[in-house]
Symmetry: C2
Subunit: 213 residues, 2 copies
């Protein structure tokens, strides 16, 4: 059973820990890792590492550290990354197109990367039928049908701001409840749907605050 | 004088408020906006809006609200977005290439968007000399020279993970102290350098946590 009360901040750090463990086991020289080292590599305090992981079980041994392979597998399981996750991408303009190629290449070359874009959609009739990296771009009114067929639960939204809410509504109707949104707009989703905003312009704008004159 | 103690969480919300105000003034029908409405549109509580803005001065009037145009200009000034900001982009693989086109198109078409990519770099000799949207791709050893010439303070890093630390060091040496990093790796920067990680894979992975079986 999932523990519903685990905060978003904890969940946000789990993939960071997983990445550190994957790097360590790729380098091959690490069988054990202390919370001190895991924290240092992930950029958080050792106490926070221990506290975060304690939500999910008892993984480390006092004075010995974490078994790298074991903790890696546990984190994969907790994050549902112990299986392939099929993803839809909606909007294959310049950004969406690049995201599709970027993530598909990552999936094809990195055995530790389970996120697999398997369906592309675009509202522009001129783009429908186009083949990108082996996938044919479909009309958004196919989202429901394709989602059912491919058991889609996750989608990347890369459409213009004024089209994003409609696309999100279509995805939610189709049973897609995990959304990564690149459109520079605030979107409404019903309870039970998780939306992460990756608004790249906002990131640049907040960096600009720290500009020295 | 800058207030050094303002937290990153406050700074992160300022561009959100600015976006809400820009949408409102684009729609044209809004001269005043309450903290209630600003908060609702930005997805935070009205109390937090008032608290965040109070760090920077007294902008609203009790019972009247904020003057949309005035607050917009103040936020632009606070974020240094009252002028154009020239940006370097390092790494024009599929993601970097798309980011360059995406942000340059945004700059060209959105008068409220001041972030302007003006220089491209790539370590691959096959890419050097290539022209992307009017900009010629240069070798990374030109970063210092170009930075001085164009007064660069901000860069987008879109190189592979194993090249990212070297590129960041070169940028920092060249006086670039604001960095948006897309490489899936934790990077070290000296004090006074601000680095924001936009690791798109981590965002997908944390979404996967919420997958329903």
């Amino acid at each position: 059973m999932r523990l519903r009360k685990i905060s978003g901040a904890v969940v946000r750090r789990l993939p960071l820990y997983l990445r550190v463990l994957e790097e360590a086991s790729r380098d091959g020289d690490k069988e054990l890792m202390s919370s001190q080292e895991l924290g240092e590599r992930a950029g958080v305090s050792p106490a926070l590492v221990r506290k975060d992981l304690a939500w999910f079980g008892e993984f480390g041994k006092q004075g010995v550290g974490y078994d790298v392979n074991n903790l890696k597998m546990e984190l994969r399981r907790i994050l549902h990354l112990d299986r392939d996750i099929p993803i839809a991408l909606v909007g294959v303009g310049s950004l969406g197109h690049a995201l599709a190629r970027y993530f598909r290449r990552r999936y094809a070359t990195d055995p530790g990367f389970q996120l697999n874009i398997v369906a592309l959609f675009d509202a522009d009739p001129a783009k429908q039928g186009e083949v990108i990296d082996g996938l044919t771009v479909e009309a958004p009114d196919k989202i429901r049908e394709v989602s059912r067929e491919l058991s889609l639960r996750m989608a990347i939204i890369a459409v213009p701001a004024d089209a994003a809410q409609d696309v999100v509504d279509q995805c939610v109707d189709a049973g897609i409840h995990l959304l990564l949104n690149f459109a520079p707009v605030k979107l409404r989703v019903p309870d039970g749907v998780h939306l992460v905003n990756a608004d790249l312009s906002l990131e640049l704008q907040r960096l600009a605050y720290y500009m020295r004159d």
